[in-house]
Symmetry: C2
Subunit: 67 residues, 2 copies
C-alpha cells in the first residue's frame, strides 16, 4: 500500500533526494517516489503517517498532510 503526502519547501532535486533519504533512514523498508512539481511524496511500505511527518520535518521541510 502506498500513501501520498504533500510536502512544502522542496525546490530542487537535492531537496527531493533529501526527503527521500530522510524517510528511508526513518523506515528502511520504505520506497519513496517524489514529484517535485506539486510537492508530492508517495511512500510505499510504511503505515505510520507520523513517522513520515517526523522524518520530513527533521529534514527541514514542511509536512502538509495527506495529498
Amino acid at each position: 500500500m502506498s500513501k501520498t503526502y504533500k510536502v512544502e519547501g522542496m525546490s530542487c532535486g537535492g531537496c527531493a533526494s533529501s526527503v527521500e533519504q530522510a524517510i528511508k533512514t526513518a523506515a528502511q523498508e520504505a520506497r519513496v517516489e517524489i514529484k517535485l512539481e506539486g510537492g508530492l511524496v508517495t511512500v510505499t511500505g510504511v503505515e505510520d503517517d507520523d513517522l513520515v511527518k517526523q522524518a520530513v520535518e527533521d529534514a527541514g521541510f514542511t509536512f502538509a498532510g495527506i495529498a
Copy 2:
C-alpha cells in the same frame, strides 16, 4: 568553538535549510551557518564530528570531511 565541514549535494536554499535543520535536530544546541557556494557548513557548539556526519548523511547529502 566552530568547525567547518564540506558537504556535497546542496544545490539550493532548500537543501541548505535541510542540512541546517538535520544538524539542529541531532544537536539542539548547534548553531549552523551554510555557504551554498563551496558547500561549506560551519557548526558552532557541537564537538562531535560523527554526529554532524550522521545528520548530514541521513538528510541525503554527502559529508566530505572537515573543510
